[in-house]
C-alpha cells in the first residue's frame, strides 16, 4: 500500500468508525500531501460509506451507526469539496426529490436513503416528512429531477404514493422521472400496483435500484 492508498484507507476507516472529528485532520493532511480531492471523496469517504452500508446489510451496523458514519462522511466532504476542480464542482449531478408522504410521522429510513443516495452522487432535495402529494411533483418539476423517492412507515399514507405517481403522469413527467418507494408497509407488489418503478427494502438497495433505473453504473459523485 503506497502513501496515497494508506491515506485513502484512513479516510475510509474514519467513516466506518464514525470518527467525525479525526476525519477533519486526515482530510486536510490528504489535501496538503498534494492528492486530488476527487479521489479522496470517492476512494476514501464514499468507500467508507459503502463499507458501512455493507455492514448494515450484514446486520453488523444499525440505523444509528449509519447516521453517525454519515456525520463523519459529511465532515470529510466539508474539507475536500472546496478543493475539487471547478468543472467537477459545476458538473451536473442527477437530481432526486425525497420525502415522507403526507400524514406520516417517521423519517429515520428516509434520512438514511437520502444519505446513501447523496453518497452515491445524487443532488438530493429533501422535502422532509408529512409532505403533501402536490409538493413532490412541484419540486420534481422545479429542480428537473430524474428520481423521486417516496417513503412511508404508516399504512394510512400508502395510498398517497399512488396519487403522486398519477400526478406525475398527468404532468407528463413519467418518462423523465423514475419513482422508487420504500417503507415498512409497502412492497414490490404494491409498487407494481401503483405504477412506481421499484420498491427498495432498505437504503442500500435504494441506491442500487436508483443507479440501475437511471443507467448509472459507476459512482457519479464529483
Amino acid at each position: 500500500m503506497n502513501e496515497r492508498e494508506a491515506r485513502l484507507r484512513q479516510l475510509s476507516d474514519s467513516v466506518v468508525n464514525m470518527d467525525d472529528e479525526g476525519i477533519v485532520e486526515l482530510s486536510r493532511n490528504y489535501i496538503q500531501a498534494g492528492h486530488p480531492a476527487l479521489d479522496g471523496i470517492l476512494g476514501g469517504l464514499v468507500d467508507g460509506m459503502s463499507r458501512a452500508g455493507a455492514l448494515y446489510e450484514e446486520e453488523e451496523y444499525f440505523v444509528s451507526d449509519l447516521l453517525l458514519c454519515s456525520d463523519a462522511m459529511y465532515a470529510g466532504l466539508g474539507e475536500l469539496t472546496p478543493h475539487l476542480p471547478e468543472e467537477a464542482k459545476n458538473a451536473r449531478k442527477p437530481r432526486a426529490v425525497i420525502g415522507v408522504v403526507e400524514g406520516d410521522t417517521h423519517d429515520i429510513g428516509k434520512n438514511l436513503v437520502k444519505i446513501m443516495l447523496e453518497t452515491a452522487g445524487f443532488e438530493m432535495h429533501d422535502l422532509g416528512r408529512d409532505v403533501p402529494v402536490a409538493d413532490f411533483v412541484a419540486k420534481a418539476k422545479e429542480v428537473e429531477a430524474s428520481l423521486v423517492c417516496l417513503s412511508t412507515l404508516m399504512t394510512t399514507t400508502m395510498t398517497n404514493m399512488g396519487r403522486i405517481v398519477a400526478l406525475l403522469e398527468q404532468e407528463n413527467l413519467r418518462d423523465t422521472v423514475k419513482v422508487i418507494i420504500g417503507g415498512a408497509p409497502v412492497s414490490a407488489a404494491f409498487a407494481r400496483k401503483i405504477g412506481a418503478d421499484g420498491y427498495a427494502g432498505n437504503a442500500v438497495e435504494a441506491v442500487g435500484m436508483a443507479k440501475r433505473l437511471l443507467g448509472l453504473e459507476t459512482p457519479v459523485l464529483a
Binding site: 464514525m18 444509528s64 447516521l67 453517525l68 410521522t105 434520512n111 399504512t155 394510512t156 408497509p185
Partner: protein
C-alpha cells in the same frame, strides 16, 4: 358473540380449564375513532370520548384487551416537548424538550396529574374501568424510558449523544424513567395494567449492545416497579428483536408482543417457556391492505406456529393497526379465532387453511 368474557377466558386458560377460544387482540389503536365516529384530535382533550371510542370498538369487535394510548409522544410532551396534533391523524413530535447538553439537567419528571395530555388519559382510564373493567383487561399504554429519551432530545441528536456522551444519555434515560414510573403508578392506582412500547430498542434501530447498556437497565426498573405493585406488563418492540429475545423474556414480563418481521415459531421456541407470546399478523400488508381471506390465512398460520407456546399465545397484529384498517378485516381475525376454538386442534387449523381459495397471483 362469545360464550365467555375476555377476563373469564383468560382466567380459564391460565388455570388449564376449558375455554371458548384463544385470546385475540387485533390491536385497534386510534382507529377506535372510526368506530365511534369522532375525530382523533378529540382524544387529546376529551377523556370521555377517548374512553368511549375504546369501549365502542371493544363492543363492536369483542376482542381481548383495551388500552388507553394515543401516540408515542405524550410523555415527552409532558416533560416539555412540542407535539403537532392534526385534526384527524395521530399526533407527531414537533420539537424535542431540550436541544442542548446543558438543558438536560433542567429536565424534570412529568406529573401525570398535571402535565400535557396525561391527565386526559388518566381520566379516560376511570371511564374505561367503570364501563368494562369487570369483563376485559384494561391496559395503560406507556412508552419505555429509552424510546422516550429520544423524543426528549430529538431522535438524530440522541443517537449522537448516545455515542459521544454516554453519561449524558444515561441522565436522559434516568429522568425519562422517572416519568414512566410516575405514570405507571398513577395508572395502576386506577386499576389498569401498564403495557410498554419500546420501538427504539428494536435491533432494526440500535445494536443489542446499545440496548443492553442504555435501554434494558431502565426497562428492568420499570418492569420491577410494576411487578412490585402486583401487576405484570406486556412489552412490545417493533421490528427485528431476535437478538434481544432472552433479555426481554428474562425481565419476567407477562408477555412479549412481536412484530411481523420476526419468525414466530422461532420466538416461541426460544422464549415461549419464559413468557406469553403475542402476535403477529402484518398490520399493514395484511390487516390494512389485504382481503378477509388474507387475514384468515395469516391468522391461521400464526395460530399453527404459536398455539402450543408453553406460556400461552394471544392472536394479535404485529403492531397497532392503521387507523383506516377495514372493519371486515378486523372481523375476519376475530371470526377465525372463534372458529378455531380452544384447545387448538392443529389438524382442524390445517384443514381450515387448505379450504381457503388461493390468492390471486401477485396480490
Amino acid at each position: 358473540m362469545d360464550a365467555m368474557t375476555p377476563l373469564e377466558r383468560a382466567a380459564a386458560i391460565a388455570k388449564g380449564e376449558a375455554a371458548d377460544r384463544l385470546p385475540c387482540n387485533p390491536n385497534v389503536a386510534n382507529g377506535a375513532a372510526r368506530v365511534l365516529g369522532c375525530k382523533i384530535s378529540a382524544f387529546n382533550t376529551d377523556a370521555k370520548t377517548l374512553a368511549q371510542a375504546q369501549i365502542a370498538s371493544y363492543r363492536r369487535f369483542g376482542y381481548d384487551g383495551v388500552r388507553i394510548f394515543t401516540d408515542l409522544f405524550a410523555w415527552a410532551e409532558a416533560m416539555g416537548a412540542k407535539v403537532a396534533c392534526p385534526d384527524d391523524h395521530t399526533a407527531d413530535l414537533a420539537a424535542p424538550a431540550v436541544t442542548s447538553l446543558a438543558a438536560i439537567d433542567g429536565l424534570r419528571p412529568a406529573d401525570p396529574r398535571k402535565n400535557g395530555r396525561l391527565p386526559v388519559y388518566l381520566e379516560a382510564m376511570d371511564h374505561l374501568v367503570e364501563a368494562i373493567g369487570h369483563e376485559v383487561g384494561c391496559a395503560a399504554g406507556i412508552v419505555g424510558p429509552f424510546t422516550n429519551a429520544f423524543f426528549l432530545y430529538g431522535v438524530d441528536e440522541a443517537f449522537r449523544l448516545l455515542r459521544k456522551n454516554p453519561a449524558a444519555f444515561h441522565k436522559l434515560c434516568r429522568v425519562s424513567l422517572e416519568t414512566c414510573l410516575a405514570y405507571a403508578e398513577a395508572a395502576m392506582a386506577k386499576g389498569l395494567t401498564p403495557t410498554i412500547s419500546e420501538p427504539m430498542s428494536s435491533c432494526t434501530v440500535v445494536s443489542p449492545a446499545a440496548f443492553r447498556e442504555f435501554s434494558l437497565p431502565y426497562l428492568r426498573e420499570l418492569v420491577d416497579f410494576i411487578k412490585a405493585a402486583g401487576r405484570s406488563p406486556v412489552i412490545h418492540i417493533c421490528g427485528a428483536t431476535q437478538k434481544i429475545w432472552h433479555d426481554v423474556a428474562d425481565l419476567g414480563v407477562a408477555g412479549f408482543s412481536v412484530d411481523n418481521v420476526v419468525d414466530l415459531k422461532d420466538c416461541c421456541r426460544a422464549i415461549g417457556s419464559k413468557t406469553k407470546i403475542l402476535g403477529h399478523v402484518d398490520p399493514a400488508g395484511i390487516m390494512y391492505g389485504g382481503t378477509p381471506a388474507d387475514v384468515r390465512r395469516r391468522t391461521l398460520e400464526c395460530i399453527l406456529d404459536a398455539h402450543d407456546s408453553p406460556k400461552g399465545y394471544v392472536v394479535m397484529s404485529g403492531c397497532s393497526l392503521p387507523v383506516e384498517t377495514p372493519f371486515h378485516n378486523i372481523d375476519a381475525m376475530m371470526r377465525t379465532a372463534r372458529e378455531v376454538g380452544y384447545p387448538v386442534d392443529p389438524d382442524k387449523v390445517r384443514a381450515m387453511l387448505a379450504a381457503i381459495p388461493d390468492a390471486a397471483p401477485g396480490a
